[in-house]
Symmetry: C2
Subunit: 334 residues, 2 copies
DNA sequence: ATGAAAGCGCTAACAT
DNA sequence: ATGTTAGCGCTTTCAT
């Protein structure tokens, strides 16, 4: 591995001069600069990140905390964040939190060793010690797609969005509406809350057994959830699933019972993942402004880190969602 | 940030002793060891990775090169690899290659700075300089899901798998079979080759315009590809898509024209991504042994790195695929 | 068994 | 404008 010393020696100059060139500092004779640049090109020299971090006491790295089982929506989100972070000159480090005991602790230990300059959380870690450590260590944190007290958060208004989803169903004439959500994260509860609120606002009587909370927000669990609901009571005409993947699984379970979507039952999703526009029926859903969320997340982090401009007065940024009406919902027959 | 010196000072010992304890070396008085361990626990000390890498000249980090636009199959794969790598004690670093000029160079530069101990490639980088650098730098490389001359590769037999897919269609009585593949990567060409070979072996006449190569292996491009094919010639009864996502998009395009799957046209996918078993119709596809591929990839890398056991004589490991028959294919209606 | 000292590659203060 | 020096946190000889 060619080091700064090698370059210096070959150029007959000191390491400092080379360092100045590498970092684009002023006060270097332009002829020498040229020469060094040429040498760098020739040798393929690239500064050693570890060495640099050590003296600078920063790593130029942003950690992204994300569930090991990230869904398609999260996958798209972190791609966008990564891209934007890169454009600001940061490296990205992923911390995958697994669905296991100790995984959060594990992740925290890793994080301590890696010392990222900032942390973006796309996953809601349960252990408060996690946030406490970050706060104590003075590491800037931004949460994306959920909010955590005291932390800068970028997300949509989940309740509001859910209410709109349910209102869409209500406007279509549906009254007997079911919901599948998850109990894992705050957004699952928020989306369920929006569901309850919308129903209450419309004076639609509603019973406890019309909602089921499953363990994961996947198609597989959507199918299980729907089967459970089907077992309980078959008198319904619409379903609101807390994520598109859940919706896809639910549609599967419905079809397996010979129930047609949307002719017999309307189904709403949430997230508008890529595939939702291609499957049959195309899913009616709520779209989160994923691009904006990703861009804002990276931008806010950059501001924290560069201190060029502290994020606005507030502690959260709420971005607008949008109802996307497609084929999986229809007016109540008759 | 608490350092090894802090611990040493508090314990009234030297940094060397602390280092020995941290690294579980012998030759430390067990009472002192206890005391230090307690102190580490208390202070939450975690060794600084950068400092350690610098003296050790290794980072305990494995880089994973993956396309920015990774599909669901790749997402699952790298999750598995990451998990397994972690169990061997490695950190994982992701290098996302974007679909842009210079992105590979960019990625290579990053890689040089990060100095991972090994590289796992899930993405087939085009630029030979990439592989050349890795070889010259003596960094072990393992390619997963594709093979590259001279590099240890773990993958299925793509041609063979495609032939089986096509044979399934042939056995169902189909003769007029179309294909959608991509031109981006080797596997796209290999899967197309398998298609041609199977047709040739069965003496099925075939024309050039029955295959289309699209730019990305996504549902969106599957839809475009199918539309193109539909424009050319509507006389066909089956389609083989090089990935499940392509297949999903193709089914969309077919349906938009009122063509039923599988009643009018049978559709085969490849990869068996999660969602394929939930959508309608459930996709008939080829399953890659994703878990085994991921585990083997991590294991082979570990062997390279620990030198405990060099990977077997060969340079590749071919894992068995499997035909998964579901609902999107059916016997040719008379 | 333990400590002192050197050095990994780099940057920044300080000289010149 | 450029070089010299110290030091970031760690591990590893080499003494003792």
């Amino acid at each position: 591995m060619v080091s700064i010393k090698d370059i210096a020696k070959q150029a007959g100059m000191s390491p400092s001069t080379v360092s100045r060139v590498v970092n684009g500092k002023k006060h270097v004779n332009s002829a020498k600069r040229e020469q060094i640049l040429k040498l760098i090109e020739k040798t393929g020299y690239v500064p050693n990140k570890a060495a640099r971090s050590m003296v600078l006491k920063r790593t130029s790295t942003v950690g992204i905390v994300i569930p090991d089982t990230f869904n398609i929506f999260q996958r798209e989100l972190f791609s966008i964040i990564e891209r934007n972070l890169e454009s600001f000159g940061y490296y990205t480090l992923f911390f995958f939190v697994k669905f296991e005991d100790m995984s959060e602790e594990n992740c925290l230990a890793k994080l301590k060793g890696e010392q990222p300059d900032g942390i973006i959380m796309i996953h809601e870690v349960k252990n408060a010690a996690f946030y406490d450590y970050l706060a104590a260590a003075g590491i800037p944190v931004v949460t994306s797609t959920f909010n955590y007290p005291g932390i800068f958060s970028i997300h949509v208004n989940e309740e509001q969005a859910s209410m709109e989803a349910v209102n869409h169903l209500l406007q279509l004439g549906h009254r007997k509406i079911l919901m599948i959500s998850g109990d894992g994260f705050t957004f699952g509860r928020q989306r369920a809350d929006g569901f309850f609120q919308a129903l209450a606002a419309a004076d639609v009587p509603w019973a406890d057994d019309r909602v089921v909370f499953v363990r994961h927000y996947t198609a597989e669990f959507g199918m299980y959830g729907m089967r459970e609901l089907l077992l309980r009571n078959r008198d319904f005409t619409a379903l609101f699933a807390a994520t598109d993947e859940l919706a896809i699984g639910a549609v599967r379970a419905l079809r397996d019972e010979g129930i047609r979507v949307p002719e017999d039952v309307s189904v709403m999703g949430f997230d508008d993942i890529d595939i939702s526009n291609y499957i049959s029926p195309r899913l009616t859903t709520i779209r989160q402004p994923i691009k904006e969320i990703g861009e804002q997340t990276a931008l806010v982090m950059h501001r924290f880190l560069s201190r060029s401009d502290l994020p606005g007065s507030g502690k959260e940024q709420i971005l607008p969602h949008r109802l996307i009406i497609r084929e999986s919902t229809a007016a109540l027959a008759r």
